[in-house]
C-alpha cells in the first residue's frame, strides 16, 4: 500500500517538488534518480512519454474558455518498493519534452513522498532548485522595481493630473 508520511520541518511541500527539480540542472536530477533506482525496485505504472497538451485559458473580457496553443508535456508514473517492502507511488507532469527527465522526477517524487531510504539525498537538490528559483524571482522583480512609474512626480494639482 502507498503511505503518506509527515514531511520534515522546512521541507518544501510536494506540490513544489517538480518545479524545484525542473529548476536544477537535468544531469543532477538524473544522477540522483539513478542512485535511487539502484537502491529500490522501480516499476513503471505509466510508461514515460512525451507529447503535447492544449493550453486552456479563460478570456477576461467575457469569461470564455479558449486554446491559445499547445505546450510540450512529458509524463511518467512509477511505483517504488524499498528493500523492506514499503511502497510509494510517484509521478511527474512537466512542460518539457524529455520523457526520461519526467521519469527521474517521478522516481524522486515517490521516494520523497514515502520517505524511503535515500530520500535525504534529494533535499540538497531541492534546496539547489529553490536557490535557482529565488535568483530567477529576484531578476524578474528587478525588471519591475527598476521600471515602476511614479506618477506623483507628474503634477502637483489635480488639474495637472487630468492632462
Amino acid at each position: 500500500m502507498t503511505l503518506t508520511y509527515p514531511m520534515p520541518e522546512g521541507m518544501p511541500v510536494r506540490a513544489q517538488w517538480p518545479r524545484l527539480l525542473l529548476a536544477c540542472p537535468p544531469e543532477s536530477v538524473r544522477a540522483l534518480a539513478r542512485r535511487l533506482c539502484e537502491q529500490h525496485a522501480v516499476q513503471d505504472i505509466q510508461l514515460p512519454q512525451s507529447g503535447l497538451a492544449l493550453l486552456k485559458l479563460r478570456d477576461s473580457a467575457q469569461g470564455e474558455a479558449y486554446y491559445p496553443g499547445e505546450v510540450p508535456l512529458a509524463v511518467a508514473r512509477v511505483r517504488v518498493t524499498s528493500a523492506d517492502g514499503t511502497l510509494s507511488e510517484g509521478a511527474a507532469q512537466l512542460l518539457d519534452d524529455r520523457a526520461s527527465l519526467a521519469r527521474a522526477i517521478a522516481v524522486i517524487d515517490a521516494v520523497l513522498a514515502g520517505q524511503l531510504p535515500g530520500h535525504e539525498a534529494a533535499l540538497p537538490v531541492l534546496a539547489a532548485g529553490q536557490a535557482r528559483l529565488s535568483e530567477q524571482k529576484a531578476q524578474r522583480q528587478a525588471l519591475l522595481a527598476t521600471t515602476r512609474v511614479d506618477f506623483s512626480l507628474l503634477g502637483t494639482t489635480e488639474e495637472d493630473d487630468d492632462e
Binding site: 473580457a61 522595481a145 507628474l154
Partner: protein, 375 residues
Amino acid sequence: MGYVAIKGGGRAIEGSHAAVEALRTAEGDAGAPLSLSAIEHQLRLLTSRVVSEGGLYHPRLAALAIKQMQGDTLEAAFALRAYRSTKPRLLEMPVQDTSKMRLIRRISSAFKDIPGGQMLGPTYDYALRLMRLDLADESPEAFRSVASRFMQQRPGADLPDTFPKVLDALRADGLLPPLATRAQDAFDITREPLVFPVPRSAALATMARAETGSLLAIAYSNMRGYGDVHPTIAELRVGYLPVMLPHPVTGELIEAGEVLMTECEVVAMYESDDNDGPPVFTLGYGACFGHNEVKAIAMAILDRALQKGMRDGPSNPSEDPEFVLLHVDGVDSMGFASHYKMPHYVTFQSDMDRLRTTQSKATQSTVTATQGVKA
C-alpha cells in the same frame, strides 16, 4: 498534354538544400554557429513571434527553427507546426488562470493609478530609434557584465509576483458587465475546421496563432476608420503563466512549468445593457504566447470588432469573421503564395493554347470585317 518526368529534378533539389546550407555557413573560418541559447535569449522577441505563430510554446525548438530557416519567421512557424503534428496529445488540461501570471511588465492607458502600480518592464516604447553603434563591436566581456550590473543596481523592493487585473476594478465600479463563466467548451482549431459561423473561442484561438503582420494589418484598417472600436488599453501585461496540472497520485494541483505570455484587454465604446440595466463599456481581449505586444493589442481590437460583426453583421472587413479568420494564418497564406512557385506547366500551356486560339479568331474576324468593308 500530360505530365512528363524529367531527369535532373531530384539532383537539383538536393543541390538546392546544399546551396542553402552553404549560404548559412558562408562565413567559413571567420564564423561561429549560432547557439540555440543565443537565439532564444538575444533574439527573444523573434523567438516569441515563432512560438506564437507556430502555436507551440517551445522556445528552444523555436530557436532551432529560426536557425534552420535562417530567420524566416513564416518557415520557422511552419517547422514548429510540422513538429507538433508528429506528437501525441497526452491530456486535457484544466483552465489556467492568467491573473496568476508572474509579471515582468504591466501598463494601463486607461488609469495611471492602477492597483499595484504600473511597471514598464523591458520595452522599447520610450527608446529613441537611433542606431546603437556600440553594439556593432560589442566585446564578450562588456556583454557579460550588463545583466550582473543591472542586478547590482536594482532598487530594494519586495514586490508581489502577481497583481490584480485592472478589469476587476472597473467591474467593481459597475463600468463593465459582470464576468460570466461560460459553460460552452472551447473550439479546438487543431482538430476541427473553421465552418462559419464559428464560436468566439475559435476566433480567439485562430488569432492567438495568427501571423503578427496579418493581424496588425486588419486591426489597423479598423483603427484608421474602417471600423469603430476606438480602444483604450485597460491593461497590457507580460509575464510567466504557471501551468497547474493535477498530480496523478494526489490529485493536488502542481506547477508543471510556466509559459511566457502577453495579454491585453481593451475597453471600447459603451453600449446599452440588453436587460435594461445601465450602459457599460464593451471589451476586447487579446493574448498570445511569448512577448508580442503589438499582436496582443491587434487581437484585442479585432476581438471587439468581430463581436460586433457576429452580433449585428459586418459593416467592415475587420468585423467579418470569415474575412479575418481565414486570412490571418501565416502558414496558410505563406503556403498559398509559395505554391505559385510550383510547376504550373500544364495549366499555363492550356492558358497559352486558349490565348492563341482567341488571338487567331480575333485576327480572322478583323480580316473578315476588313474584307467586308472593302467589298
